[in-house]
C-alpha cells in the first residue's frame, strides 16, 4: 500500500493477518476463531445457566430410573459382567452431548434472524472457520453438560477411571462427537432455514439416532438390520470410545476416533457449504 490519501487511516489493518486476499484457512486463524467462539459460548453459559440445569434432568432420569431398574432385573448382558448402570453411563453421557449438539443449529438460525450472522460473515473469517469454531463451541457446551452426568453417575456408584489422561481423551471424544452432530444440525439449519422446521427435524432424528446406537445395549443383541444401522451411526463409535476410556470395556479406540474425526470433518465441509443459504 503506497498511496494513502490524506485522511484515510493507514492500511496496516488491511494487510495484517493471514494470507490476505485468499480464502484459504490458515491453521493459526482456525485456532484463533475456535478459541473466540468457545469464549463466546462460555460467556453465554455464565450469563444464563438455566439450560445447563434443565438439560441435566432427562439424562438424570435415564440413569436413575432406566439404569437402576435394568441393573436390578439383569435383563441386558453386559461384557465382562459389569453392572448395567456402569455400562449405561457412557451411553447417557453421549446422549446428553447429542441433545445439546443436535439443536445447536437453532442458535445459527437465531443469529441469522437477529442479523448477527451477516455481521460475523463480514469479518475476516472463512465460512469453514466459522463453522468449525461453532462446532467446537457446541462441543464445549456438551462437555460442561457431560461433567454433570459424570458427577451424577459417580454419585450413583459407577466406578469410572481416575486416570487424567483417559478423562482428557474422553473429553476429546465428547467434543468430537458434538462437533459432528452440531454440524449436522447446522447443515439442517442451512436446508430448513427456519427454527420450527429445524426443531421438527431435530426431534424426528434424535431418538432414532439414540436407539440405533449401542448407547443402551450391546450391538450384538440387536437384530441384523439394526446392527447395520448402528455400524454407520457415529453415536455408536462415540459411545464405544467413551466406554473404553471411562469403564475399561475393551474397544477399538483407534477406529472409534478415526470415524469421529472423519465424521466431524465431513460435517464441517457440508455445513460450511450450506452456510451461505442462511446469509441470503
Amino acid at each position: 500500500m503506497t498511496s494513502v490519501a490524506p485522511g484515510a487511516p493507514p492500511a496496516v489493518s488491511a494487510d495484517q493477518g493471514w494470507a490476505p486476499g485468499s480464502g484459504r484457512v490458515g491453521l493459526r486463524q482456525l485456532l484463533s476463531r475456535m478459541l473466540t467462539l468457545c469464549w463466546v459460548e462460555l460467556r453465554k453459559l455464565r450469563h444464563d445457566r438455566t439450560e445447563l440445569y434443565t438439560r441435566a434432568i432427562q439424562p438424570a432420569l435415564w440413569l436413575l430410573i432406566f439404569g437402576e431398574t435394568f441393573t436390578r432385573i439383569h435383563a441386558i448382558q453386559t461384557p465382562n459382567g459389569i453392572p448395567y448402570l456402569a455400562y449405561l453411563a457412557p451411553g447417557i453421557l453421549a446422549q446428553s452431548a447429542l441433545f445439546v449438539a443436535i439443536f445447536y443449529g437453532i442458535q445459527i438460525i437465531w443469529e441469522r434472524d437477529a442479523g448477527v450472522l451477516a455481521k460475523l460473515m463480514v469479518t475476516p473469517t472463512p465460512r469453514s472457520a466459522l463453522i468449525t469454531g461453532k462446532a467446537f463451541a457446541a462441543g464445549l457446551r456438551s462437555l460442561v453438560q457431560g461433567v454433570v452426568i459424570v458427577v451424577l453417575a459417580a454419585i450413583l456408584g459407577v466406578a469410572m477411571t481416575g486416570n487424567p489422561l483417559k478423562l482428557l481423551a474422553a473429553a476429546c471424544v465428547v467434543v468430537l462427537g458434538s462437533a459432528f452432530f452440531s454440524c449436522l444440525s447446522m447443515s439442517i439449519a442451512g436446508v430448513a432455514l427456519s427454527r420450527d422446521r429445524l426443531m421438527g427435524i431435530g426431534q424426528a432424528i434424535t431418538m432414532p439416532l439414540f436407539f440405533s446406537s449401542n448407547a443402551l445395549y450391546p450391538t450384538r443383541l440387536m437384530p441384523g438390520w439394526l446392527q447395520a444401522i448402528s455400524k454407520v451411526n457415529p453415536l455408536s463409535y462415540e459411545v464405544d470410545a467413551l466406554r473404553g476410556l471411562l469403564i475399561g470395556v475393551p474397544t477399538n479406540l483407534g477406529l472409534d476416533v478415526s470415524v469421529l474425526v472423519a465424521a466431524a470433518v465431513a460435517g464441517v465441509v457440508v455445513a460450511s457449504a450450506l452456510l451461505p443459504r442462511l446469509a441470503k
Binding site: 498511496s3 494513502v4 490519501a5 490524506p6 485522511g7 484515510a8 487511516p9 493507514p10 492500511a11 496496516v12 489493518s13 488491511a14 494487510d15 495484517q16 493477518g17 494470507a19 490476505p20 486476499g21 485468499s22 480464502g23 486463524q29 484463533s32 476463531r33 473466540t36 469464549w39 463466546v40 460467556r43 453465554k44 450469563h47 444464563d48 437465531w110 443469529e111 434472524d113 437477529a114 442479523g115 448477527v116 451477516a118 455481521k119 460475523l120 460473515m121 463480514v122 469479518t123 475476516p124 473469517t125 472463512p126 446469509a279 441470503k280
Partner: protein
Amino acid sequence: MSLEPGAAVTGQPAGGAGVTAQPTVTGQPPPAGTGLAVAEPAVSCAGVTYRFGDHVAVNLVDLTIQPGETFGLLGPNGAGKTTTIRMLVTLLKPMAGRISVFGANTATQPMRVRRMIGYVPQLLSADGSLTGRENVELFARLFDVPRGGRAQRVEEALAAMGLTEPAGRLVKTYSGGMVRRLELAQALVNAPRLLVLDEPTVGLDPIARSDVWEHITRLRERAGMTVLMTTHHMEEADLYCDRVSLMHSGRVQATDSPANLKALLGPVASLDDVFRHFTGGTLDGDTAKGGIRDVRRARRTARRLG
C-alpha cells in the same frame, strides 16, 4: 465524554508499529479528483447487477467514492440500496460487474475487503445474550486485534460511542439507540478505512436519531474515514453527505453533491424535488413489497433482541 478515545479507535491501526499518523480531515473532505489522482478510490462499482429470481434488484450500478468522502445512497424502500451494500461487504456476489474497495475486488479478495470495512447492517443486530463489552470484544477478536492492546481498544470504542457505563449489561436490556451505537463501536474496533452504514437511524426515535448522528459526525471529524451510508431521509443526506447517488428501481439516476443537485433545479429546489425530477418517484412512496418486508423484519428483530 472525552473525544480522544474516538480518535484513537478510528485513527490508529492494530499493532501499528512504526506507522506515522496521517493528517485527519476536519469538516469537508477533498472533492473528487482534485490533486488526489494517485489515490485509488475508496469504492468503485462498475456495471454492478443483482437479481432475485426475475426481479432485478440492482441494475448496472456505477459508483466511485473518494477516500475521505461521506457518500450517501439515497432512495425509497426497495430501490436496491441494501442489496448494493450487501454485495459491497462481500455477503453477495455481483451477478455482473465488479466492485472494489481500496483496490481489492470484493468477489475475488473478500478477506482483504473485510479487513478494511466496518459494517452496520440495516436491522439492529447485536447479541442480546452477551454484554455490550463482550459484543465489541467478539469483533475485536474476529478482526485479529492483537491481544496486547485489545482490552484498551474495546474500551476506547465503547467510550467513543458513550457506552462505557452500560457496557457490562446484557444487550437485551439496551434501547434501540444504544444498540445502534454498540454496533458502531463493533464496526470501529477494527479501525476500518471504510465505514458502511445501511440506514443507520431507521427505526429510531428522533432523540436517539440525532444522538447517533452526533456520534457518527464526531468520528468523521476525528478520523476522516470514508463513510458510505444509505438512507431514505432527504434531510439526513442533505446534512451529512458530501455527495449522494439517487437510486430508484435498482438504478443510479444521478450522482453529485446535494448542493449541485439542488442548483440544477433552481434556487428554491429541495433534494426532494431533485429526486422527483430524476426518478419520477418520491422517497416516501415505498414500493409496497420492500416496505412491508422491512417492517416485518424490523419487528422480528426487535422481538429477538428481547
